[in-house]
């Protein structure tokens, strides 16, 4: 079951690189702490999912790289090729000469339609290479220009053309004290559009990862590369193959039992339905034991509410709106976005 990754914008491409790198180096790591047959099955499954084979044996990532300027894509391509372990496909990228200056509306209403055909063509070729295609993994930031506006447009297109495939968007939540003034506008527009066309939104907050780097890993000068690597590590462990159903033969105390406390769950869904555990014998990335929790919880209500609040305040005074209306995003679209997100907040609050 193969997944095609779409890396959008500077953020998406940098993270995407780290993810593939983490996946492949884990797959090749020698300390699997399991039998050889187990290890081979694991490697084969990981390879099939994320990479395709080439004649000379170097795996090619099943990825499509999209950006409006060539700098980041070129960096990403060369870093992959340098590793010697894997690389990106030759014709798997799409980039233009100019950027979009962090203008969401430009990314969505101009870049999107203009380059729709080319981008969808590249994606289609990548999908056709898969024997058994399971879905898309789209990496983008929420508050940027290209990554966000174009990403929302591309996801919508994917929903139209591949309505039967699953799509998961990996979104980077910007720093609370971000540098881009209109990041809140961008965020709410991105979220409300993605909410309609995507099946799952996986959120990572820059602030949270920053804390991990600072406190848990004791990195003094935290760069984006550090942040991206932590992210990739988390994503990697989510994506690596696990057992589908049966429990292991040996009796093992399950440290995740504690999560079955009903108080953690909503009243209308029993824990057995809401909580799924996937296990694997093989160790991830040289850790003896590791666990990853992906949850859909009220955790995001506060950050979301904050962003919506700030955006609303700006909107109330019509600040910077002309940048959007210039390219076809009307005030009504803003209002629709606010409405959708308020509904999301409300439904999470009413769990």
């Amino acid at each position: 079951m193969s997944i095609v990754t779409v890396q959008l914008g500077q953020c998406g491409n940098q993270i995407g690189f780290e993810v593939f790198d983490a996946l492949l180096s884990d797959s090749h790591s020698s300390q699997g702490l399991c039998s050889m047959r187990e290890n081979e099955a694991y490697q084969a499954s990981c390879k099939e999912r994320f990479f395709s084979e080439e004649e000379n044996g170097v795996p090619i990532a099943r990825a499509v790289l999209v950006d409006m300027e060539p700098k980041v894509i070129n960096q990403t391509l060369s870093k992959a090729a340098q590793s010697g372990q894997w690389k990106y496909g030759q014709h798997a990228c799409f980039c233009q000469k100019q950027g979009s200056g962090n203008n969401w509306a430009y990314g969505y209403s101009v870049h999107g339609p203009r380059h729709e055909e080319s981008i969808m063509n590249i994606i289609r070729k990548e999908v056709e290479k898969c024997d058994s295609f399971s879905g898309f993994f789209i990496i983008m930031s929420m508050a940027g220009g290209t990554g966000s506006g174009l990403g929302a447009f591309v996801t919508q297109n994917l929903e139209d053309q591949y309505s039967n495939s699953l799509k998961m968007n990996q979104i980077i939540w910007p720093y609370g004290t971000g540098e881009v003034i209109v990041q809140n506008y961008n965020s709410i527009l991105t979220l409300s559009h993605l909410y309609r066309s995507s099946d799952a939104l996986l959120l990572h907050e820059n602030d949270a990862i920053h804390k991990i780097c600072a406190k848990l890993m004791n990195i003094k000068q935290i760069s984006f590369s550090d942040i991206n690597q932590v992210l990739a590590h988390q994503l990697g462990s989510v994506f690596q193959p696990t057992y589908s159903a049966e429990s292991s033969f040996h009796y093992r105390r399950n440290p995740l039992e504690g999560f079955k406390d009903p108080a953690l769950y909503t009243s209308w869904l029993k824990p057995v339905n809401a909580f799924n555990v996937w296990k694997t014998q093989r160790a991830f990335s040289k850790y003896e034991k590791s666990a990853v929790l992906v949850s859909n919880s009220q955790f995001l209500v506060k950050p979301l509410d904050m962003i919506v609040g700030k955006a609303w305040n700006m909107f109330a005074s019509k600040a910077y709106i002309h940048q959007y209306t210039k390219f076809g995003i009307e005030e009504e679209d803003f209002l629709d976005s606010f409405t959708s997100l308020e509904q999301v907040v409300a439904s999470y609050c009413n769990l």
Binding site: S132, S267, Q343
Partner: protein, 426 residues
């Protein structure tokens, strides 16, 4: 239990062994059919023949192809299922419903039931079709199953308490995901089939087919599996021959069944509303019994009145949603409306979709030259028909969605002070 004198009709079954042969053929043509001896004993209503006949009837009547799970059901359960299946098919004799389910008696009645089923339709052929081994890669193109009417109503399940709409939404989401996974798997299967057909061009000894199917390719790869397939096909052949033998000799069987029917006591024609299980009341103590019956009846009437009063009061409060005679009438009306819609849809398909699709599975064959025989279906034609059917269905769906939206808007409009924000259109 003396031997009864049978009136032998010299014209029928003149050859001595004709009847046992006919019954043996019937038995071979059915899955796990009992021996002719069982049939003979059943004519005389011998108890030892009963359980074999219950099991045979169960195999014939169960809707699913036989699996180990079904065979291991207890005799009582099988017997009950047989009774209810025969009842819903309209079996006319009351005696069957009154038979004990432990297999202690009733073999003659069961024999009559079996012959009733055999007379109604081609049972051995149907069972054979259910269990056949497809050699090619097959799919069905007719939409019979899709348009089948809802069937007998499922046992009515009252919801326990209020149902949380969020749970329903969650279930809907899960269902949607499963559906998409199914579609992706099907697409994957089609892609793989296409590859196999392409790569095995020219391998088939039958020129008109030219390429191998999955089963055939697998047979080449795994000789042991091939042997097993061969054995299965041989068994199927034997059953086919048994069916043919049965059809040649069944007249003998029917004449014999007449004599079986003759040995039964004449039965009162079944009442219109057939109670399935009649209680067995011992006939004694007449006077006290009458008094008890009268008291019980009076109590029942009192209770009914009380229930009625409460129900009316509750409905007045709750607006009759979900329960009550109004609701079941509404449900009945909506079921009838659905059946009418299905009928109209079928007509629309027949009108717009071109030639009706033939029934049953078809073997998939990939041909380069595009030549097709008379009875072959072209994929392009099938696809066109299916697309037009899809368009019909989409139109109906949009119409129904529009009606729903209007209804919602009307309901919402009736509540003052409520702002209605419809979800972003998808």
């Amino acid at each position: 239990m003396g031997r009864r004198r049978q009136r032998v009709d010299p014209a029928a079954g003149a050859r001595a062994g004709a009847l046992p042969e006919a019954i043996a053929a019937l038995s071979r043509s059915l899955p796990s059919g009992p021996s002719p001896e069982i049939f003979r004993r059943a004519k005389f209503d011998r108890p030892e023949a009963t359980s074999a006949l219950w099991q045979l009837l169960f195999r014939v009547l169960s809707p699913l192809p036989a699996g180990n799970a079904l065979a291991s059901l207890a005799l009582e359960v099988q017997a009950r299922l047989v009774k209810s299946a025969l009842c819903s098919q309209g079996y006319p004799r009351l005696a069957l419903a009154q038979l004990p389910e432990d297999g202690s008696q009733g073999s003659r009645e069961l024999l009559l039931a079996l012959s009733w089923l055999l007379a109604r339709g081609p049972v051995p052929e149907q069972m054979l079709a259910q269990a056949r081994v497809p050699l090619g890669d097959e799919m069905t193109v007719c939409q019979c199953e899709a348009l089948a009417s809802p069937g007998p109503p499922a046992p009515h399940m009252e919801a326990e308490g209020p149902v949380d709409v969020r749970h329903v939404q969650w279930l809907m989401g899960k269902l949607r995901f499963r559906w998409r996974q199914l579609v992706s798997s099907q697409q994957e299967q089609c892609a793989l089939l296409s590859k196999i057909h392409l790569y095995t061009r020219g391998c088939h000894s039958d020129q008109s087919l030219s390429h191998l199917s999955v089963t055939e390719a697998e047979m080449l790869r795994d000789p042991e599996g091939g042997q097993q397939l061969l054995r299965t096909l041989e068994r199927e052949n034997q059953r086919l021959e048994a069916v043919l033998a049965w059809r040649r000799s069944e007249l003998v069987f029917w004449r014999w069944m007449d004599t079986v029917l003759g040995t039964c006591a004449p039965e009162v024609p079944a009442a219109a509303s057939q109670p399935t299980f009649l209680p067995w009341v011992p006939e004694r103590g007449g006077g006290e019994l009458d008094l008890a019956v009268r008291e019980l009846q009076a109590l029942e009437e009192e209770l009914q009145e009380a229930v009625e009063r409460r129900r009316v009061a509750w409905e007045a409060k709750a607006g009759g949603c979900g329960r009550g005679p109004e609701w079941s009438a509404a449900r009945r009306a909506s079921r009838e409306a659905v059946e009418k819609e299905l009928g109209a849809l079928q007509q629309c398909w027949e009108r717009d979709g071109g030639p009706a699709q033939p029934h049953g599975p078809h073997r998939l064959v990939r041909r380069e030259d595009g030549a097709a025989g008379d009875r072959d279906l072209r994929a392009a034609v099938v696809i066109r028909t299916l697309r037009s059917q899809e368009a019909c269905l989409e139109a109906v769906l949009r119409r129904l969605q529009g009606q729903c939206r209007q209804e919602l808007a009307r309901l919402v409009g009736a509540l003052p002070g409520l702002i209605w924000i419809p979800p972003p259109g998808r």
